[in-house]
Symmetry: C2
């Protein structure tokens, strides 16, 4: 396996320029009668500049003209021309065993292909916090804020706008990005007021995204690192996974963007082509196998140990580095004010740890002074973490997961159980659960106030209902519910609900269409009755 | 009908505070060793401040502390507390006949409910440009830039961050917003390189949105104005439309967010519940009528002339004010550099005019010095504008629209034909068309490079293929293709394509799954063959 020094050598060989320091304030608009001064210590490519003295920054003269890149240069080449100043800061990261004993010296370069620690445990991406701490919280806030809403490569992405905290050593040129992130933080005004008596309730719509789920955030990191390995001539011929859902969709999309072969294993006759349409459309090599899902998992593990195919499995710690940026983004969208609660649906349980890690990093680096309390919300049909929590963390047992409308979290033996417990214990966290009826009702209630959420978000909202009822969450607590997929991926369950076609479920918020004869009188009668019921003035 | 002065009276009566001027620079981070200065002339609520002298702004002392709103105050109340400074500037807008003779004095307050001019023509929202011109281009750019990525009410929205240019006189408190806009401007690196030899090709993903289409941008404006009228005690008991698609989805979502009854008329037995799931989930009153689509249109027109139901039809000029912000947003995301081309799918043809209007306004107010050339892309099965263009604008004829996969633009007699011609003639524009095979192939090609687009975007990409082939669009031209809906709304057409189940279509980019026996040897054989075909190193 390659050592860190080998990597640096091979990397600088691949056309890497020497490091230079920039001081090039962004455009200064001094000729306006309404003067705007925007002198910052950021260099022209929005990378941090070293050893900037306060006085030189404050006095920055409004002379810098905005460059316009030449017509034959694309944004990737433009980024290359500006160098990657971040390499000068010694920012770096490595794999270490998750929550290792302080005396452990086990670590791996991110340029190695390694999924588990020597003892078979989980890995974690550990950043050199001392290097990052050379810059204070205000510095990072300003840097991240300066990158929002633009198309500068790669900082137009909500993930890569935090590049120094994600994969600090990757060359911008190796990044595979769809400008993911920067997702809607929606103020759930009517839902909060009507159903919960809350004025400060928010839904972080991670699913209003390129592939319709939050998985984009992690996959851009994983595929970028694979892209880097391939450019370093490491033998990685493709990326594979066995997933019926959001993971295969995100994997295929990012591989397609990079031209990297993606391989998806699926059980034949158990999956509809509708579930496959994203990987198929995104050009994945989709193998339909005469076996069940476990058989697919077994086969892809065997195959990837024989062939140099990178396995995009759910224990991959690179993906969490991307996912954690959603937490940083929430703080940023609140102008770096910390919410009181963040509620996250949990299945394989990587995401709750990713959110913890993002919040914790912001605190450790001085961007905020506390972190929110985290709530993990599970479907009652797949609730091993909930049972573990209820046992006082004394007795973890995997469960047999039963079918749930929240299909992406139908997991009885979560890979990231240790990560989730760590996150919850360090955030004064709580675990809640939701029955099928509770989660579908919550989804319908949310939709009736203008959202269009997935059943997993319904699980999180059900948890919120319970915690409000018990008084744990107060009426003025600023609370964020994390929505993990777009409702458009779950239209069938919504149709079943509103058609009242779900066995043993009252579907009490169903809103079926009303059939009316197509004549003026009949329509007027029906409409007037409806409008009167709405207490309107006719 | 209410006059403008009546409106102002009733409005200030409804709890409106007196106008005060703010000078309250945003947080100054002066205690950092890496000094960041962000002194701007914006007031604390991001509204423009009047008569700011350059010197006072430049010397702004770092004394202002960031307020944190009290826990029992929501963001709407916070906005109310800060007043709406914009009212002090005399920014205002009114309805006028579209492209009226300069001598025309016909105009209407936006607080009147009026869909057409006296002569039955289209209306346009006309802004007081002299009032807006009191601030120069740099002022507006800085103002808009300062609002991106936050959750300040209502400026966290990509539409309402341009409030002064949209509905300047509406109180922020009346706005109904889901923080729409700020959508992904995606760099189509691989698609451009692989299929078109282009390095500067972009896709504006207006469909990666709350309801999955660009209609959110217009509907937030329409429903906000309706909300205002209701609070002014105007008799508006609900909002209605006859739409099978994106319009009814967006209308229902925004009405749901505001608690305003929404009413959707649809032909029974011609629409699947899947097409209705958004309005149903969003609590619309959906009437299923024993007639065809034209019958529904006829009935809703009759009913809305009897009952005080606002008609959210496609000639509504308020919606275009929201849609135009997508054009402004493109410029903003490019750091106010102007692309060479913008390609927009066209059916009812309001959107192409909205884009023109947004670009033109930026030029007129000095934010940019030119506007892009516009291309309108039509399905060949519904191409009245294309035929008109080809006739040298000499002979417009409505056509019978044939079925197209690009279902939202299957329109033979477009409402906004005059608006589109105006936009094209004033932007040195072009009209192109795409056959069903062309648009579906283009969609599949785009998806194979990591996108997941709708058939309408396929129409726009087909137009781009043609204009590149003819040399009209050059390889280094910065080109933006407007994507109007999320591909997740069109999974069935993708399934049909990749299953090669479309009559008379080769589906030459289809990528069906491969069936393999579930044993290690068979899987390895298939995989090796695939990977070798990808020219990888095994």
């Amino acid at each position: 396996m390659a050592s860190l020094s080998q990597f640096h050598a091979s990397h600088s060989f691949s056309g890497h320029k020497s490091i230079t320091l920039h001081r090039n304030p962004r455009r200064i608009d001094s000729h306006s009668s309404h003067l705007i001064i925007r002198a910052t210590s950021l260099s022209s490519d929005n990378s941090p500049a070293l050893s900037q003295s306060p006085s030189s920054s404050a006095a920055a003269a409004p002379t810098a003209l905005k460059h316009r890149r030449p017509a034959d240069e694309n944004i990737r080449e433009e980024a290359r021309r500006h160098n990657n100043c971040t390499h000068g800061h010694g920012f770096c990261a490595k794999y270490v065993p998750f929550n290792a004993d302080p005396s452990s010296t086990e670590s791996y370069s991110l340029d190695e292909i390694v999924y588990r620690s020597r003892s078979g445990g989980l890995l974690d991406v550990q950043h050199d916090m001392d290097a990052l701490k050379k810059f204070d919280g205000n510095y990072w806030k300003s840097l991240f804020d300066s990158r929002v809403g633009k198309t500068t490569w790669p900082y137009g992405s909500g993930v890569w706008s935090k590049k120094e905290w994600v994969l600090p050593e990757i060359d911008s040129d190796d990044i595979v990005s769809a400008f993911e992130g920067n997702s809607n933080l929606f103020w759930a005004e009517r839902f909060g007021k009507q159903f919960l008596g809350m004025g400060d309730l928010w839904v972080k719509h991670c699913g209003i995204s390129h592939t319709g789920s939050f998985k984009d955030l992690g996959m851009t990191v994983l595929v970028s690192q694979v892209n880097r390995l391939r450019r370093m001539n490491r033998p990685v011929v493709g990326v594979g996974c066995a997933s019926t859902g959001d993971t295969s969709a995100a994997l295929s999309a990012y591989c397609a963007a990079a031209g990297i072969p993606s391989i998806v294993f699926l059980p034949a006759n158990r999956i509809s082509i509708a579930q496959l349409v994203q990987p198929i459309a995104n050009g994945a090599f989709v193998l339909s196998l005469d076996t069940d899902f476990d058989g697919c998992m077994q086969l892809i593990r065997e195959v990837t140990s024989e062939l140099p195919i990178y396995l995009a499995n759910s224990l991959n710690s690179l993906r969490l580095e991307g996912q954690k940026t959603a937490a940083i983004e929430i703080l940023q969208q609140f102008d770096w004010e910390v919410p009181d609660w963040v509620i996250i649906p949990g299945g394989n349980l990587g995401n709750i740890y990713a959110f913890y890690k993002g919040f914790h990093m912001c605190k450790e680096l001085g961007l905020v002074d506390r972190i929110p309390r985290l709530v993990c919300a599970q479907a009652a049909n797949a609730n091993p973490l909930y049972l573990y929590y209820k046992s006082g963390w004394s007795d973890f047992k995997a469960v047999k997961a039963n079918t749930t409308f929240a299909s992406a979290i139908q997991i009885g033996d979560p890979v990231s159980i240790d990560r989730a417990v760590y996150a919850l214990q360090n955030s004064n966290g709580i675990v809640e659960e939701a029955t099928e009826e509770e989660l579908m009702d919550a989804m319908a209630q949310a939709d009736s106030t203008g959202m269009f959420i997935c059943p997993h978000t319904g699980v999180a909202l059900s948890a919120l209902f319970k915690l409000r009822k018990s008084g744990v969450i107060g009426p003025t607590d600023r609370t964020v519910v994390v929505s993990t997929a777009h409702g458009l991926k779950f239209t069938q369950s919504k149709i079943d609900y509103h058609s009242k076609e779900i066995p043993d479920m009252a579907c009490r918020f169903a809103n079926p269409p009303v059939h009316v004869k197509a004549d003026f009188g009949s329509v007027m009668d029906v409409l007037k009755k409806y409008l009167l019921s709405k207490d309107s003035k006719i």
